[in-house]
Subunit: 336 residues, 2 copies
DNA sequence: TTGTACGCGTTATCAC
DNA sequence: GTGATAACGCGTACAA
């Protein structure tokens, strides 16, 4: 382990060249003769030189760091995305700077201010609360990648998952099993993806020529407690249903507990489908049938997109389509 | 929204003072007359000046950023700690730089190199894989806070949770319910806390005058799959047990699934206790009895400790004691 | 109390 | 191709 701060200038001296030459070699800014190049590389190795990103940032205007706005750093859902981002960015020499917006537009704006003050080279916003206009304005100042919405603007890449289609195939699965009375537990109504999932749910019904029972449409908060309460309300009101579609896995887990508490078995009495395919979904009891979201891929794609924006090349915007993972929480309807 | 980079120098000009005076006011480095102070503060406000941390880092040697080494950014366990760290650090104007070591000493060392290259002002290491010696060496170079081990060294603060006691009270709970044949699922044997939990388990037996059945001692990997396989091995070998203590919740979830698959009910046939009290523990089926770890507090304490080290004051090292959360996965032993 | 001058480690712009 | 030289924005001795 090299011990203390070796500077570029020392490398230059050691190699018998000027600092500029060293810099050029480091950044590939210009062509340098092979012998000098060799000398410098040797010097770098023997001295254990590591470029100082701080100085680099001041001089070159780039910090090699990317701000990542997530809603909660400890989100079971976005965790995987953060990991994908970290991997992809790290491989390119960039470091992510994670901040949490806590589902609050103001806080999110403050976070972004902090990130910009730290001179991040770009911004990745995972399902933010900011307006499209604010995002567009931001994109005029630095490269921006957003997920969870569709938005076209210069310097901006948006990666959207087809929530409607996901909800649709989940609902079709239930319908295909013979279920007709299907309760829907929606997420935060302010979330666009929540609305899209509801739309997909309804679309599947329409396509199948089945009518949605409005009394079975409930609203949660994307948390376990919301799913649980939704089921409890339904049960307290003596509603009849043979299946439940929760707009995310966390609510599905809450629903499962409520069902369990009331003596209803999954899937024998009630089938249950979630959305997201959290890591824990395959170890819930019973393992949850759910719509898989390629969250880590999303993170990777977002990071790769950012890298592309930074490099001025055309980012690849392809995201895998939604896919239903059938496990053990769904079964054929017995009575209907 | 202030639009473009206002510099300290511009503020100085606007206020009719020298740059150093502005700097002094910003950092409280020296006493400044009230009128100039007022003028500068006005200028800062009207110009919308925001200090550039990059330049600050280069000049002053401080970056106001703290490196945080976690094993996986998407860990369901450490997520809460990251959140606590983010909150506490952020309130003090510091930004965390999260990196993942992936339970690998080499990778962890590389991460630390990256962080040091970025000139972080301090390092928080959450249950790292590095040797005590390496950590001590590190602490000679910059303030270090470590969790998951007890270590005394100058410039280093270690925050340890009493794993042995936690395991002990969990085991006593089971013993108190009349269980005698208790299976133990250990975590990664390389993890010190895994060994401590096993020691606590054994200590409870010793205190109760009960003998541990070596055939019921199994090893997992701290993941769901490990817990599941452990139970499967036990059952395949026709071992008899009325309770299971898993060294963490994730393995307990895996164990629960394995039990469920074999037609064993929790807690009627087998009682189950976990360790950690993950957010999902209260929504598993049945809700899991487990040892609560104050993870967010741990994060807050680690950050506060770092701030104290940075300020040269004595950090408060107190951490809440382990506490058993009794939910619905444990019941009295029927047969023994 | 306040200002001047220099340095932090790199990159960028010139000349050569 | 290569080397001076000047920024980059701020902190801090040192002097006043």
């Amino acid at each position: 382990m090299a011990s203390r701060t070796v500077t570029l200038e020392q490398v230059a001296r050691h190699a018998g060249v000027s600092p500029s030459t060293v810099s050029r070699i480091l950044n590939g800014t210009a062509v340098v003769s092979d012998d000098k190049k060799q000398a410098v590389e040797d010097a770098i190795r023997t001295l254990g030189f590591v470029p100082n990103p701080v100085a680099r940032g001041l001089a070159g205007g780039r910090t090699l760091s990317i701000g990542v706005v997530t809603q909660a750093i400890d989100s079971p859902f976005y965790g995987a995305a953060l990991r994908g981002i970290e991997d992809t960015l790290g491989a390119a020499g960039y470091s992510p700077l994670f901040v949490s917006g806590h589902w609050n537009a103001d806080e999110e704006a403050r976070c972004i201010d902090v990130l910009r003050a730290r001179r991040v080279d770009g911004l990745i916003v995972l399902t933010g609360r900011l307006s499209d206009a604010a995002l567009r304005a931001l994109a005029r100042q630095l490269p921006v990648v957003v997920t969870g919405r569709s938005l076209k603007a210069p310097g901006l890449l948006s990666l959207d998952f087809d929530n409607a289609l996901g909800a649709r195939i989940a609902t079709e699965h239930l319908l295909g099993l013979g279920h007709r009375s299907i309760a829907f537990i929606g997420g935060d109504p302010l979330h666009p993806d929540s609305r899209e999932r509801e739309a997909g749910f309804r679309a599947a019904f329409t396509d199948a020529g089945v009518t949605v029972d409005p009394m079975l449409m409930t609203v949660g908060d994307y948390q376990e407690a919301g799913g649980r309460q939704a089921i409890e309300r339904l049960l307290d009101a003596r509603r009849r249903f043979s299946a439940v579609f929760a707009a995310n896995d966390q609510m599905a887990f809450g629903a499962a507990l409520a069902l369990h508490r009331r003596g209803l078995r999954v899937p024998q009495d009630v089938s249950l489908v979630g959305f997201d395919d959290l890591a824990s979904a395959s170890y819930s009891i019973p393992p949850l049938t759910t719509v898989h979201q390629p969250v880590m891929d999303l993170g990777r794609a977002a990071a790769a997109g950012m890298l592309a924006l930074l490099a001025g090349s055309k980012p690849d915007t392809a995201l895998p389509p939604p896919q239903l993972v059938v496990r053990e929480s769904t079964a054929s309807a017995v009575g209907g």
